[in-house]
Symmetry: C2
Subunit: 292 residues, 2 copies
């Protein structure tokens, strides 16, 4: 069942089969500040063949417009409407699903990507990078305006942010608890580091309950948003990712085909292991190989 | 079964029944920097009646000698040999159970209490309060000398500490993962704040596995240490605490009677709820009431 796209013919047949490609970014197009060999050329090839592409990332640290700058820096063409991130999905969820009240604000454990996407939806926020560097353990004053706590990857997290988030969630009745994505690790510096799912764990432990919502893959919110905006045919759509329990499960849950690339989290051994229950439709070494 | 020590006669009969009393500290003797009314007088009463007392605390932020200073400040007599803390138990476990190699060191997420107790056992350490205030997200260099990561309550925790702890645990073969105690919250400033069990949660999530050891209550390490040093009769011993899933479970697991006081975590409603599966032998409003 799991087909290895090993030859140029395999890869061309694969491209011909689909009209739409959804891409995870970290581990597929780039790692940190380095893009993989052949990625820009492969993306150009898809565009030239008239394919539609969407970028579906659990990375909440950047806004959609910041992602565009990153694409541009790598020589990859992309439009704002093609980018779906967990921070964007979180803002959309608060705005459209929860109809977050205008007199409330969001407390953020996370980077500016969350703050910027909330602002783009007209939602006020506090915390985030503003609270980086706090080291005191003083009492947390009440702030009854906080109606939701959103937690994403935060490389400047500290105890004070946890104290505040926990205080608002326990003291403010009905305060929503939202996690952008559940990735427990993410790749950077050629290794793995604690991810958003790890950053949120203290609050889950202290509250003794799970979040009210998790927006990132494998949750279907971003796929539903793409369908709502673009009316693409699921049968002609393939999800390309590097991580089984987010990207590939996201595609499987949505009933679309999947391609696992080996430039990120998942090794060939893990993918092919008899113990692995999440199998993509295809796999290949690197997305950049499409240009070869 | 659960007896309320409501009258002076009840309380005197209770004291007469036991020779040894084990005390939790936070929430029983004090909250933060304030001792409860009558605590010093009640402790003096026990001493005058020739009772033996031991202090058994999951608080890893202070060394045994720092605890003695706190007792002294509240006018409560105590000896170093009477104090058993999760930091002390952690150091003893590394030294005597794991026979931690002399050429290895411990990476600490936690306060100076852990560092001081490790040093008292001749164990080298790094991290802890030294790494407070780090906000960079640079690559974590290898440090093959780290043979154990110990996590306790750390009110100066940050992302860098998590990155380091995760790096050593994944890169250094055989590196031990030890958590001082699993309390997910603790009382301070008249409210609850994230505790050691919450602080350790990101590493548990990122590793996808539980710690190799958890030393604090309800684990039996501190009770075993008391028995080893003091040969007291369990039938004549009572554990006094404020928290059901640590203090009271600790006594129950050790086969000794238990007294729950209502000056800390547990409310009367929680204790008496039909849903509560952890019931102490006795309960009373405040330990200080013994002096009334």
């Amino acid at each position: 069942m799991l087909q290895y796209l090993s030859t140029k013919e395999d890869r061309e047949a694969f491209i011909d089969k689909y009209d739409n490609f959804l891409f995870d970014c970290d581990g597929v197009l780039w790692e940190g500040t380095n893009t993989f060999d052949g990625v820009a050329e492969s993306m150009t090839l898809l565009r030239e063949k008239g394919k539609r592409v969407f970028f579906v990332t659990n990375n909440s640290t950047k806004s959609r417009s910041s992602f565009l700058k990153k694409f541009e820096g790598f020589g990859i063409k992309a439009e704002l409407e093609e980018v779906f991130s967990s921070a964007f999905a979180t803002a959309a969820y608060l705005k459209h699903v929860l109809q977050f009240p205008e007199d409330k604000k969001v407390y953020i454990i996370g980077m500016d990507g969350i703050k910027d996407e909330l602002a783009a939806e007209g939602i006020r926020s506090c915390g985030g990078e503003e609270d980086a560097g706090l080291t005191d353990n003083d009492s947390v004053p009440d702030d009854k305006e906080v109606g939701a706590v959103v937690i994403g990857l935060d490389t400047k997290v500290n105890y004070k942010k946890y104290s505040k988030a926990f205080a608002y969630l326990t003291r403010n009745p009905g305060c929503y608890f939202i996690v952008t994505n559940e990735d427990t690790t993410f790749p950077q510096h050629g290794s793995f580091y604690p991810g958003a799912g790890a950053i949120a764990a203290p609050i889950i432990a202290a509250l003794g309950r799970h979040p009210d919502a998790v927006l990132g893959k494998p949750a279907q919110n971003m796929l539903e948003a793409i369908y709502a905006e673009s009316h693409i045919d699921p049968k002609k759509t393939c999800m390309i990712g590097d991580r089984l329990d987010t990207d590939i499960e996201f595609g499987m849950n949505g009933g679309i085909d999947t391609l696992c690339v080996l430039t990120g989290i998942t090794t060939k051994e893990q993918l092919l292991s008899p113990d692995n229950r999440i199998r993509s439709t295809y796999y290949m070494d690197s997305f950049g190989d499409f240009s070869k």
